[in-house]
């Protein structure tokens, strides 16, 4: 593990009661957070920390916290626990610790917030949304249109050096994934019953067989794309019959999953789903089957990032420097296939799950290896 050089600007943090894996997670979080420079002290480092974070789920966790407070009354103490006690005298973060709550809690402590000896409420920390870091106002970069389904698995060439995208929350547009054509497709997928969708002139647009994962398309991509972007298109859904698709009709066949994925991205059209929040975490339940779906821009990177651990859209843009509209399209496409977890009151089964216990800790990637991997990626992409 690379040890960060100590720096007079660093805010030193000590951890107590954590194994190497948990410490590695904190190190990664500190590295990802650029507004302030936090540094987790190594074991044996005798520098005085500004804050001590204690995992109190161990046998003597609370006793250690109280002992530290009695010996060093000025020391700022932050606890982590899977079951925070409402009457804790120290601020407590619910585990799994999220960046969205960790840094506001640290900021609060450093600014003289909930101090030891004062009840801090259930969560302890004042939870404030972290607004995405907006650094360099980049000039508008060209939007790469999603390729048509003609060659869905063709890898996208590795992009040239990219500018830091700008995410301005006030400019984010939203869409309702339960409305319009996408909403109808979701109903068909959910109910697993065959259906056809007709337009206002009773022309058949789609014939769908969710049990067989099949879709027959009787409209071209441009027509479907324009329908996807209408929130209230004149569409109807009804049960199919054998005469719906004449033998001579020009049709295309896709898997229903491919259609849903593409319609999710077209419907989003650079907008964020109403069901997602810019600062709330999302996670992939599984990778999309990207060799058989339209390869959206940055889809492989986004899938790798969001399968690894939950991250908010704001954090994802910041960490991967992806264009927000590409991220929003990817999220919409993944959500259309039911591949996303996020916390909503309506669907408690879809809540973000704690980090799996069988995950090993990713080692920090040295710069030389990153460079090597980047060259290898470019080589593979160009084959």
């Amino acid at each position: 593990m690379t040890k960060n050089p100590s720096n007079s600007d660093s805010i030193l943090v000590r951890s107590i009661g954590m194994d190497a894996r948990k410490e590695a997670v904190f190190r990664m979080a500190f590295k990802m957070f650029t507004r302030r420079r936090y540094q987790l002290l190594d074991t044996g480092d005798t520098q005085a920390p500004a804050v001590t974070i204690i995992d109190v789920d161990g046998a003597e966790g609370m006793a250690i916290a109280h002992q530290l407070h009695s010996e060093q009354p000025e020391q700022r103490i932050l606890l982590t626990s899977v079951s925070p006690q409402a009457d804790s005298v120290f601020p407590v973060l619910q585990k799994p610790v999220r960046m969205e709550t960790l840094f506001p809690a640290l900021e609060s402590l450093l600014n003289g917030g909930p101090a030891p000896g004062k009840p801090a409420g259930r969560s302890g920390a004042t939870v404030m949304p972290i607004r995405p870091e907006v650094t360099i106002p980049a000039p508008a970069t060209p939007v790469v249109p999603s390729p048509a389904a003609a060659n869905p698995s063709a890898p996208k060439p590795v992009a040239a050096p990219r500018l830091t995208p700008v995410l301005r929350p006030e400019e984010i547009r939203h869409f309702n994934p339960q409305a319009g054509l996408l909403g109808l497709l979701q109903i068909i997928r959910r109910d697993q019953s065959s259906a056809i969708i007709v337009d206002g002139q009773q022309q058949i647009i789609l014939r769908l067989d969710p049990m067989a994962d099949q879709a027959i398309l009787l409209a071209d991509d441009e027509h479907l794309k324009s329908l996807a972007r209408e929130e209230h298109p004149q569409l109807q859904m009804r049960a199919p019959n054998h005469a719906d698709v004449p033998a001579h009709a020009s049709t295309r066949r896709l898997t229903l999953q491919s259609l849903l994925w593409q319609m999710g991205a077209w419907t989003a059209d650079g907008r964020l789903s109403q069901q997602l929040q810019i600062n709330a975490p999302v996670q992939l339940k599984q990778w999309p089957n990207l060799t058989r779906l339209t390869m959206l821009p940055d889809a492989l990177r986004l899938a790798a990032f969001l399968a690894r651990s939950p991250a908010s859209p704001a954090l994802t843009v910041k960490m991967l420097r992806v264009e927000p509209h590409d991220l929003f399209n990817f999220l919409a496409a993944a959500d259309s296939l039911g591949l996303l977890r996020y916390n909503t009151a309506e669907n408690p089964d879809n809540r973000i799950q704690p980090t799996t216990s069988n995950a090993s800790t990713p080692a920090e990637i040295p710069a030389a290896k990153r460079s090597f991997l980047g060259r290898l990626l470019a080589r593979i992409s160009g084959l």
Binding site: N151, S153, A154, P155, V158, A159, A160, P161, R162, L163, T164, D213, L284, K285, Q286, W287, N289, L290, T291, R292, M295, D298, L300, R301, L302, A303, A304, F305, A307, R308, M319, L320, R321, T356, N358, A359, S360, P362, A363, I365, R370, F372, L373, G374, R375, L376, L377, R379, I380, S381, L383
Partner: protein, 188 residues
């Protein structure tokens, strides 16, 4: 300084490992095939009895060694040797085999020490011949199959692949690289 790295392709007999390596290799693949003499004969006439070997060159001094393990379980004694210095594991599964879940379990456990430190990606072949299990089924199997394993990426990519399709193979490898570091495409 010479830099050598490995990507390991594994999976059961006839799944398409040799073809996948051929799609990437800069040299004609060095394959130690032999006439199959046992039950393997039922699936293909020739099979890899030691390993397949291909090379992807980044520059004069940097090569990526592409190794394909034998598909037959009796050769698993050599897999530890193969994996030393590996970047990751590409596990290819054959959807027409009688019990793909058993294969998934076998190969992930055979490489259990390797995949603690490196990512695994899973390619499922012959889904055009046998549609079940689907990709979602494999994803559902994973928690049970890997319950006693530690993995760098517990939610690995699972893609349908055809080893003859270069784009499929490229996507598998690119997913492997992004699983090591999702930030590598960001060259700013």
């Amino acid at each position: 300084m010479r830099e050598d790295n490995k990507i390991i392709f594994t999976g059961p007999v006839g799944v398409g490992k040799t073809t996948a390596i051929s799609a990437l290799s800069d040299i004609p693949i060095i394959s130690t095939d032999a006439q199959a003499s046992d039950m393997t004969l039922n699936r293909k006439g020739h099979t890899t009895v030691a390993m397949d070997y291909g090379v992807l060159k980044l520059d004069e001094n940097t090569k990526i060694h592409l190794y394909g393990t034998p598909g037959q379980e009796r050769f698993d004694f050599m897999w530890d040797i193969l994996t030393t210095g590996g970047l990751g594991l590409i596990l290819m599964l054959d959807n027409t085999r009688p019990n793909p879940k058993k294969d998934l379990h076998f190969f992930l456990h055979a490489f259990k020490d390797f995949i603690v430190d490196v990512p695994v990606v899973i390619g499922v072949s012959k889904t055009d011949v046998q549609a079940q299990p689907q990709i979602a089924d494999y994803a559902s199997m994973l928690p049970e199959v890997t319950a006693d394993l530690r993995m760098l990426n517990p939610i690995p990519p699972i893609f349908e692949v055809d080893g003859r399709n270069k784009d499929d193979v490229k996507n598998l490898v690119m997913a492997l690289l992004y699983s090591i570091d999702p930030g590598i495409g960001d060259q700013s």
